[in-house]
């Protein structure tokens, strides 16, 4: 995180008035205000949203549990002995200890280390040591009922092995929440095949969490910033591509179809793309091979599922990314990379090799994370106070080309509604 951000005093609460130019100007304070951040936690992460918490493949058997987050709130995702998945707060009902410590584990119960109050895998309080005291001395009051002191339990849903949780008591179904346009490419990754976890990355980004959504709703940057994408035609002006937005504007799918070999980029486009190089060649091109394995016209789909999930299908490298906000100026990314059960040894290695594209050390990942850091620095430290989102004019929603910021505007239309801005 930039020193300045660390050492500067908190800016005085800005007047939270949205600029008049509607959605083509974004005020800096949505990225920096602690007040806005607190409201986001309440209205978005703890509001009417489905938050990604785990893949079922991470907790395959009864008794398996995992630490996770909903927004910034630590939770535990556990599979009870009957196989049902539960999500509850990682906070003891007694004095408040964050009781579950390992990232992953397996057990028949969850015991708080401090005074050993004991919970089942649904988060129900099952035992309080010396509840009746000793020799009729002490212990909990007669009217103390275990069932009144369980861990705060969240609503849970799963789709094809992906687990979501919500603080909202009357959430609509996940299917209604994301809508058919998004569900289609989501299912292309998850339906019908069981996942095999290949491993984790974790990294922080010193930027506001919304920038990660914007980055993946911004096909314009993809064709300019990423030399790899453009030079090798993974996502480039000229490819068949689309930026799909759901009707509410909050979810998205950036999609592109890679041509069999080097892309046909017209001379005009080349001059526009500094990152483009005809001569750039790989010593080992096979790592960019695309093994067709999905029922989809797209070779790449990057899905942003509001508010905290990214589903990555970049050729054959697959993963989910969980966004954990940590205040307005930083977020944590947890990447879970996977393949499928039954992948051949060679296919697994192909996925691993292709993994070099993504993650905090990926050819693309490095550039996106650095770019977001630069933006937060610019916003925190500068005198100016808005940014411009005018590409594609004021159009919103899905578009079939790359040179637009329509999806970002759609997201902020939804955001302003929910946030009352």
């Amino acid at each position: 995180m930039p020193d300045s951000a660390r050492t500067d005093s908190p800016a005085p609460a800005p007047a939270l008035r949205w600029p008049s130019d509607g959605l083509t100007a974004i005020p800096d304070w949505v990225y920096t205000s602690p007040e806005i951040y607190e409201r986001e936690i309440e209205r978005i992460f703890k509001g009417r949203t489905w938050n990604f918490v785990a893949l079922e493949a991470e907790i395959p058997e009864p008794g398996c549990f995992k630490r996770s987050f909903v927004g910034a709130t630590p939770v535990v995702v556990a599979r009870d002995l009957k196989g049902t998945v539960h999500v509850f707060e990682n906070r003891c009902a007694h004095r408040g200890a964050e009781l579950c410590r390992p990232q992953l584990g397996k057990s028949t119960e969850i015991v708080c280390p401090y005074h050993q109050w004991t919970y089942d895998l649904a988060g129900n309080l099952t035992a309080v040591p010396f509840r009746r005291g000793i020799k009729n001395e002490g212990g909990m009051p007669k009217d103390f009922r275990l069932e009144d002191h369980g861990l705060l339990q969240l609503k849970v849903t799963t789709r094809h092995g992906v687990v979501f949780a919500s603080f909202c008591r009357d959430m609509e179904s996940f299917e209604d929440y994301v809508g058919p346009e998004i569900l289609k490419d989501f299912d292309a990754v998850f339906a019908g095949r069981r996942l095999r976890i290949l491993g984790y990355y974790r990294n922080t980004v010193p930027a506001n969490w919304k920038m990660y959504h914007e980055n993946l709703k911004d096909p314009y940057h993809a064709t300019l910033l990423h030399a790899f994408l453009v030079s090798f035609g993974l996502l480039v002006a000229g490819n068949k591509s689309a930026m799909i937005v759901d009707p509410t504007g909050r979810h998205g799918t950036m999609a592109s179809a890679k041509p069999p070999d080097r892309p046909q980029v017209d001379a005009e486009s080349k001059t526009q793309m500094r990152a483009f190089s005809d001569t750039l060649r790989l010593a080992d091109p096979k790592f960019l091979d695309f093994v067709r394995e999905f029922d989809s016209p797209w070779s790449v789909t990057m899905q942003t599922i509001w508010p905290n999930l990214i589903v990555q299908r970049e050729l054959n490298t697959l993963g989910v990314r969980q966004i954990v906000p940590r205040g307005p100026n930083e977020f944590l990314m947890i990447w879970t990379m996977f393949g499928y059960e039954g992948d051949s040894e060679e296919m697994t290695r192909h996925r691993l090799r292709q993994g070099n594209l993504m993650g905090p050390a990926g050819f693309l990942g490095i550039e996106d994370n650095e770019a977001m850091r630069f933006v937060q620095q610019g916003i925190v430290r500068s005198e100016s106070d808005t940014s411009v989102v005018a590409l594609g004019g004021t159009e919103e929603g899905t578009s079939q080309h790359l040179i637009t910021e329509a999806a970002i505007r759609s997201m902020y239309r939804h955001y302003r509604e929910v946030m009352g801005l």
Binding site: L225, S231, P360
Partner: protein, 167 residues
Amino acid sequence: MPEGARAGGTDLRALRWEIEEFNTDYAAVLDAGRVADWPDFFTEDAIYRITGRENWDAKLPVGLIYCEGMGMLRDRALAIARTTMFAPRYLLHQISNTRVHSVDTAGTIAADANYALFETLVDERTTLQQVGRYHDRFVREGGRLRLKERHCVYDSVIIDTALIYPV
């Protein structure tokens, strides 16, 4: 019981000196930003991988960087040296606790060493980019040691923003 005894033999000790010198040169090339020279420390069929200790301990194969063979090593070096966008920075390695475990009949040397990698963005304070351990297999080619395998296993579960250069 401790493994001191195992490393007592003169041969292993001489190998340790040679590997210390190898690692010193390896670090010097990276600390100087000469990433294009970095593949020369590896064999044609080398495996290079950087992964978190949580993956290593759970035998999960993923790598932040995962290269099979010289081609991928050169592509990584090229990308960082020429095409990738990132802010300028200085890097400095401290490599210590070098240990030679064994030499098999084929002459493959199993060794490890601890590293601390310090990163300085040109207008910020120096930070600890990561600490970890090299798990290595060396072979001798034309008298020189080369890495047949280097797994950089970092303790520092959470990477700050991005890992640009090989470790």
